[in-house]
């Protein structure tokens, strides 16, 4: 009973914070707004720790909070499923959220929308918690859409900027395309399992493993496995939320939002909802090799090709954004290889080091007075020591340096893919290996350009890519905006509310992998929360057999290809951007077409804008002008009016009211009758 109250407290505390900061955002002082929001999230975090303790002691929970709706035989409810998977997500979400809340005090200091921002990020925390704590598909969908809404509101937080409000609409619609598949998948679950509650659905899954569905009328040839269709549809939802190719286009543009939310929503938590969802649905996905192959191929395409794009970005946030896309691809690959626990493990380590990298990028942006172009930076190490060190830690974790958290999770993914026999795993193995080099290269390209080498700031510079500027700078000012440091001005280290979260995130970025790999992957921590069919997909069993402790794993890695690939990436970056800075320009000149392709992000955006957005508008106008106005109103309605009008015109001719018309007609009639009569006779 006591625990159940605690479960309720976790999502409701941030919700209360959001309501206080949001409803009264124009009345209450900033101090009160951020206190309410931070208190809410802190309570949720502490409660999550207690729950984690309880779950670790073997207590799980699956129960209803209230009955949302019943109809016919179907009952939909709001309820919680608390197990090790849930509680892992709860801890990650509340911890990163707490850090971001504190950081926001410093980052949004000058912004007129301060209270509103706190309200949104607390609302986000509530939504995300509802998503991960759900015990059924309906509430999952609620959380799914609610985090999408808050993401939409936050990307467009600076609503006067055309790029921001373009990006948020794009993000919402790209997510809706994914949700379109997702809701159809949920519909198939309800239609075939008769319920949307996880446990009964998972319990029946095996019975339906052989079931088929006819996609097109007629013939047995068109039937396909029901579970494959269901899982692929559900995964399309994950592709939207977790930004997998080809629904990834919204994530780079989401960098239009303030940096704290890039860290919280677009790196650490919301975008990993898709990964979480597939892991949660492991009892369904395990039964369909087709779906798993689909997952692994989509993941490897994302991991590799989004990594390439990271190499040519000059906006500090966009480099990190493409790295996030690529890392989400890694997690998806792990899912496809049936290594769900490894995916969740990488999700967790990634949440820490990627939130760290984003917040550090934000710190750099503050230090640079809202200049985000890494070509204008250099040598910041001297001026921003804490930011520099924490960034270095984050980068080392990201590229998988042995002993760092990212190493344990990424290496486990690579090993899992190597062992997997699912169709597509060969390509996936190549992608994740190549990805190691690329990740190391773009991460340290950014690191060297920002923190080392020549100091390029304080000079007049050619165009910059984007600005994380505050709305206050934009309010109807006709003057040209100024971003970046004035000549002679030096960057400065950021205040403690910014650096303390960096340090607090750097600690788990180093250690969390080393500490948790054994219990999470091999100690049965996830227990029944994740289901793997050991017979069909023995990847995890083989991994467990090979595992000899966290220390041995790191020691062994020093002699592995993965490590040397990463090192090669770092050295290449050093060589190209510090030692011989002329190389990138030369390389750009040599591989012109490739560079153009990368610069245009493989033309996804242009294609979508022309074909889907433009096509829909054209079709809409065509149906409106042609169908509604042309055929229905013009031809049918207008036509019947004209027919009635025409008949009336004819009838009117006979009733002109002029006596000579009538007289003439009479005479004409008499003549006609007489003629007929005479001719007959």
């Amino acid at each position: 009973m006591e625990m159940q109250k605690l479960y309720l407290l976790v999502p409701l505390a941030p919700l209360l914070g959001a309501i206080v900061a949001g409803l009264f955002c124009r009345v209450i002082p900033r101090r009160l707004a951020h206190a309410a929001a931070i208190a809410g999230v802190a309570v949720a975090f502490v409660a999550s720790i207690f729950i984690w303790n309880d779950v670790a002691a073997g207590h799980t929970f699956d129960g209803t909070v209230y009955r949302w709706l019943s109809s016919g035989d179907h009952v939909f409810q709001v309820g919680f499923l608390i197990d090790s998977l849930t509680v892992t997500m709860m801890l990650v979400v509340t911890f990163v959220s707490l850090m971001v809340h504190i950081y926001t005090i410093g980052y949004m200091h000058d912004d007129p929308g301060y209270n509103r921002f706190f309200s949104y990020i607390s609302l986000f925390t509530f939504s995300m918690l509802m998503l991960v704590m759900s015990n059924n598909f309906m509430q999952l969908f609620f959380g799914w859409e609610a985090v999408g809404l808050v993401s939409y509101l936050l990307i467009g937080f600076w609503y006067t900027r055309p790029t921001a409000i373009f990006a948020n609409l794009k993000a919402f619609l790209a997510n809706r395309v994914g949700d379109f598949g997702f809701i159809l998948g949920i519909g198939l679950v309800l239609a075939n399992f008769g319920t949307l509650d996880y446990q009964p659905v998972f319990a029946q899954a095996r019975d339906l493993a052989g079931a088929t569905i006819s996609l097109f009328p007629g013939g047995d040839s068109s039937t396909v496995s029901l579970l494959s269709v269901t899982c692929i549809l559900l995964f399309i939802g994950a592709m939207g939320k977790s930004a997998q190719v080809p629904l990834h286009v919204w994530l780079p543009d989401s960098m239009e939002g303030p940096t704290p939310i890039s860290a919280l929503i677009h790196a650490a938590t919301m975008v990993t909802a898709g990964i979480f969802m597939v892991a949660r649905m492991s009892p369904l996905f395990e039964l369909s090799d087709t779906a798993l192959s689909f997952v692994i191929v989509v993941g490897s395409i994302t991991a590799l090709f989004m990594g390439f794009l990271g190499v040519i970005q000059n906006d500090i946030k966009r480099v990190v954004a493409y790295s996030t896309l690529s890392q989400l691809g890694y997690m998806t690959v792990a899912l496809g290889a049936s290594a769900y626990s490894v995916a969740i493990f990488h999700l967790m380590t990634h949440a820490f080091f990627k939130a760290l990298l984003f917040l550090a990028a934000g710190s750099v942006i503050i230090g640079m007075h809202h200049d985000q172009d890494i070509r204008n930076m250099g040598g910041l190490r001297k001026y921003m020591p804490i930011t520099w060190l924490t960034s270095l830690i984050g980068s080392l974790a990201l590229i998988g340096t042995p002993f760092f958290s990212g190493f344990y999770s990424k290496d486990s993914i690579i090993e899992a893919v190597k062992l997997s026999h699912i169709a597509g795993s060969g390509f996936a193995y190549f992608s994740v290996m190549a990805g190691v080099f690329i990740t190391a290269f773009y991460s340290f390209r950014m690191y060297f350009l920002v923190f080392h080498g020549e100091e390029r700031f304080g000079k007049p510079h050619a165009g910059t890519q984007g600005h994380d500027a505050h709305a206050g700078d934009h309010d109807d000012r006709k003057t040209v905006e100024h971003h970046g440091l004035a000549p002679g001005q030096k960057p400065h280290e950021t205040p403690w509310v910014v650096t303390v979260p960096l340090v607090l995130l750097a600690i788990p970025s180093v250690f969390i992998g080393y500490v948790t790999i054994e219990p999470m992957l091999y100690g049965g921590f996830f227990g029944d929360a994740i289901f793997v069919d050991g017979q069909a997909h023995p990847v995890m069993e083989e991994l467990t057999r090979d595992f000899q402790g966290a220390l041995a794993m790191a020691a062994h890695a020093l002699s592995s290809l993965v490590f040397w690939l990463a090192l090669a990436g770092v050295i290449s970056a050093w060589f190209c951007y510090l030692k011989m800075p002329g190389i990138p320009a030369a390389a750009k000149a040599i591989c012109g077409p490739v560079y153009t392709l990368l610069e245009n992000k493989y033309y996804f955006d242009q294609f979508y804008e022309r074909v889907f957005a433009g096509g829909a508008r054209l079709l809409g106008r065509g149906l409106w002008r042609g169908g509604d106005a042309g055929v229905i109103d013009g031809l049918i309605v207008g036509g019947s009016v004209r027919v009635v009008g025409g008949i009336a015109m004819l009838a009117r001719l006979f009733q002109s009211g002029h006596i000579y018309h009538y007289a003439f007609t009479m005479i004409f009639g008499v003549c006609a009758l007489l003629s007929i009569w005479l001719l007959r006779a």
Partner: protein, 493 residues
């Protein structure tokens, strides 16, 4: 059940109040007319509340029944009663009347008494439609309710109001007459005008099909279904804000209600036979109209088209013949009352200030009207079917039912997830977001207390029903089961 004739009160209190307003409020005394009108509307709402508190959800039978002979020679009765379906619409209608009176409070300055009287009288007549259990009584209310609506568009409407009213007339005329013919046919066949007798009356398939098509002609225009929908955008554009709210929230529900009360139970075999046609038309409404809405440049037209797409979900849900589908459709009807009403109200709030409905004349409204923008965002999201708003519940239920029926029908229906978000949020972006677009927007003032009250009431309904729809669907269960029993039992002998 108490001794008071609650349904008669629900019908006659607003009508009576309307006449009081008409006679008591002269042009120079508009404050008194307004006070009387709001008192009448509130009393009208108050008398319907016992319907909710005293309702017995366990039985599908008609409740609060009143029956008096009216024209004994043709066995026509003054026969009222509600079941779990119609009761909700009586309360919704009475609630919307309060909203409408508040919405026109300061905005309507000429002929205040007549304006409010029109709405009150119409409210009573609409309650009559939802409670009538006698075919002829239903028909009288059904046709009579049009008169106030014509007047509202014709007197307080925009520049092309005559065109709009004429178009509406043209569309309805044919259907109404065929409907009347069917009623008379059913009378001659059964010797009674009692709708419930008709529910039980056996009919050969061919007769059912003719009756179904005649009903369809009347109801499809009202819903409106594609392709007889083109009157609605014009009517909305010309109507004053209050007229648009009633039109969207209540008047559109009459056609759909007709399907539930007449078509499905009276001609079940024909309903089954024609279900493919209706499902097809409904899906066209969702997709075709979704694209057309995307192309609109006038906000009211856009929301009008979006209403047609949402009503497509209603007809789709009915003709899936499952509890989930039918209840989803009914929930969608009620939710659409709140959400579309609120959308039209939001457009009205802006129109009162700028006197334009063109999207291009706005931009950056959030800068000058932040409170309004927050409400508008909520309703836009509800219109796009976001969970936790009422707009989601019905769509979700109908999509679930449709996928169960056939994956491809679900596929086409679910496209509203994308289209609905696209046209609603694209409009929101162009109107509300961005830098201040022009001097008119720069001069905007945020919502007044009265506007805030209206928006908050509608927001509470949209959110409340989204977070906890169970109390609403609970009321429907028995009646929907009974309806589906009617549909599943063949009447052919």
């Amino acid at each position: 059940m108490s001794g008071l004739p609650i349904l008669s009160l629900a019908v006659w209190v607003p009508i009576f109040a309307g006449f009081i307003v008409l006679f008591a409020g002269a042009d120079r005394n508009s404050p008194r007319a307004r006070m009387l009108a709001i008192a009448g509307a509130l009393t009208g709402l108050l008398v319907t509340l016992p319907l909710y508190t005293g309702f017995d959800t366990t039985t599908p039978a008609m409740q609060f029944v009143e029956i008096l002979p009216w024209i004994p020679r043709f066995d026509i009765h003054y026969h009222l009663g509600v079941d779990g379906i119609s009761m909700l619409f009586v309360i919704l209608n009475s609630f919307i009347t309060v909203i409408v009176v508040l919405a026109g409070w300061k905005v309507i300055e000429s002929k205040v008494a007549q304006y409010n009287a029109c709405f009150l009288i119409m409210s009573g007549l609409l309650n009559g439609i939802f409670t009538a259990l006698d075919g002829m009584l239903f028909y009288v209310f059904f046709e009579a309710s049009l008169i106030p609506l014509y007047l509202i568009i014709g007197v307080w409407g925009g520049p092309r109001r005559v065109y709009a009213a004429f178009k509406f007339f043209l569309f309805t005329l044919m259907g109404s007459l065929l409907f009347l013919v069917s009623l008379i046919y059913l009378y001659f066949d059964s010797g009674s005008f009692a709708i419930l007798d008709w529910h039980r009356m056996p009919l050969p398939l061919a007769t059912q099909q003719w009756i179904f098509l005649a009903f369809l002609a009347a109801f499809a225009v009202k819903v409106p279904m594609w392709p007889v929908h083109t009157w609605l955008p014009d009517a909305h554009v010309e109507a004053p804000t209050g007229g648009s709210i009633v039109l969207a929230a209540i008047a559109l529900k009459l056609g759909a209600y007709g399907f539930v009360r007449f078509s499905l139970p009276i001609a079940p075999d024909a309903s089954q036979a024609f279900s493919g046609l209706i499902i097809g038309l409904s899906l066209i409404a969702v997709v075709y109209i979704g694209f057309v809405a995307l192309a609109q440049e006038d906000m009211k037209k856009l929301v009008a088209y979006s209403s047609i797409a949402h009503m497509g979900f209603v007809t789709l849900g009915f003709f899936l013949f499952t509890p989930l589908g039918v209840e989803g459709a009914l929930v969608q009807m009620i939710s659409h009352g709140f959400v579309a009403g609120a959308m039209f109200y939001c457009i009205g709030v802006m129109y009162d200030r700028v006197h334009s409905r063109q999207i291009a004349d706005y931009g950056g409204v959030v800068n000058t009207m932040p409170k309004f923008a927050a409400f508008f965002m909520l309703f836009a999201m509800a219109n796009a079917g976001l969970p936790a708003t009422s707009g989601f519940v019905g769509e979700f239920m109908v999509i679930m039912a449709a996928v169960k029926f056939n994956l491809w029908i679900g596929f086409i229906a679910a496209s509203t997830m994308i289209l609905g978000a696209a046209y609603t949020l694209w409009m929101y972006k162009r109107v509300v977001f961005g830098a201040v677009g022009n001097p008119h927007v720069a001069e905007l003032t945020d919502v007044t207390r009265r506007e805030f009250l209206v928006l908050a009431l509608l927001a509470a309904c949209a959110l409340g029903m989204g977070l906890y729809p169970q109390p609403v669907t609970e009321i429907m269960h028995s009646s929907v089961d009974e309806l589906l029993r009617h549909v599943s039992v063949s009447k052919i002998q």
